[in-house]
């Protein structure tokens, strides 16, 4: 299967877990978009759900597919979202390449069950040196936040969109923070979040309850 096929079969598997009456968190990004398509097909066939989108883009996509959206309420029954990296043993995730990490994390944290879906390239045995963790930071004072991220042991680069900083749905910036040395994800997450001006990190620790991975020839389900 191609990478897109792997994403699609993982997304369809996750969509099959949804039952009528559920409140569903809709992730953002290319893999989550496959889940939205799959959910829309099930709704067309009679599934009755309400959905909470994690980004403006996802909201627009869901509306175009006729999915019923509601304002944030909780607990959310199931959240289906992609990830940039998934650590097999812990299901710790790195998210935020798409820039929607803050709402994605709030929805994940408010969900009884978070199903992360991905093609096999996203699954790693261990999150280690060399990875980059997206961190959402305040636009105001971003220079000092970048300096403090450096002091905390990562190498931050302000994400740009052409000549100007990339701006999130919340009006903030993203610093992509490369980690050079081995790290413990929970303590790194706490250290980065503690910095004044850091709004949220793209490390999702203890949030995913299961991962659905599309491989070349099969779908693998990993429970935490």
């Amino acid at each position: 299967m191609t990478t897109d096929d792997q994403k699609r079969v993982a997304a369809e598997y996750a969509a099959s877990l949804v039952e009528s009456g559920m409140l569903v968190g809709l992730g953002s990004g290319s893999t989550a978009a496959f889940a939205i398509t799959a959910l829309a097909a099930r709704v067309e066939a009679g599934l009755e759900i309400t959905c909470i989108p994690t980004s403006e883009r996802t909201a627009a996509l869901a509306l175009s597919h006729g999915l019923p959206l509601v304002d944030f309420t909780y607990p959310i029954d199931i959240d289906i979202d992609g990830a940039d990296l998934i650590e097999r043993r812990t299901l710790t995730l790195v998210k935020g390449l798409g820039g929607a990490l803050f709402r994605e994390k709030i929805v994940a944290a408010a969900s009884r069950r978070m199903v992360v879906i991905a093609d096999r390239s996203k699954l790693v045995e261990r999150l280690g040196p060399g990875i980059a963790i997206p961190v959402e930071i305040a636009a105001f004072g971003q220079e000092t936040v970048l300096a403090r991220l450096t002091q905390a042991g990562v190498r931050p680069v302000l994400r740009r969109n052409g000549g100007t900083p990339f701006v999130t749905d919340g009006g903030n910036f993203i610093a992509d923070c490369t980690v050079a040395t081995p790290f413990d994800a929970p303590s790194l997450d706490a250290r980065l979040k503690a910095i004044t001006g850091v709004i949220e990190t793209g490390l999702f620790v203890g949030l995913a309850s299961e991962a659905v991975i599309g491989h070349e020839d099969r779908v693998e389900v990993i429970q935490r």
Copy 2:
């Protein structure tokens, strides 16, 4: 001296610490407003400074007084700001009644010297049970953030402005979090900030370098 007189003399003392060439952080609130007036008088008399405001309201006030404002740069030489509570021994502050805590904290953290100014009613021997700590939280998903604040041991109340939630300059909400039991400020700050959806807390630990307190009959300067 009246409370306003106490604020004014503390503000004038702090303004006297400013020298030409300095980059000055301008706090928000009624006491910081006295500092802006005092700085404006010194600028009128030839003092050359540039200023960074911590709120839209402060920016407007500073402009109306002819103070030159610049976009955020750092390090800031001196930050002059008020506080709702000041703990004498540690100079730990509680801030955020005015709703500008996020930018105030970023500016304080980016300053070589932070001078907190207040009337004597704000000075306490010890920050203890019964105080309320303003916490800036994401508007999206605020219900879950309030629930998690409760789990973290405080009693949050969403701040309202008439019938609707109070909205900060950054578009966020404020939860006023009453602390019922004795606490260690640094660990409480870390515990609250770690919650997904918490943008910043109004506990300022290790940021104020000195406090200038207006008493009935004198100005008291407390160094940390």
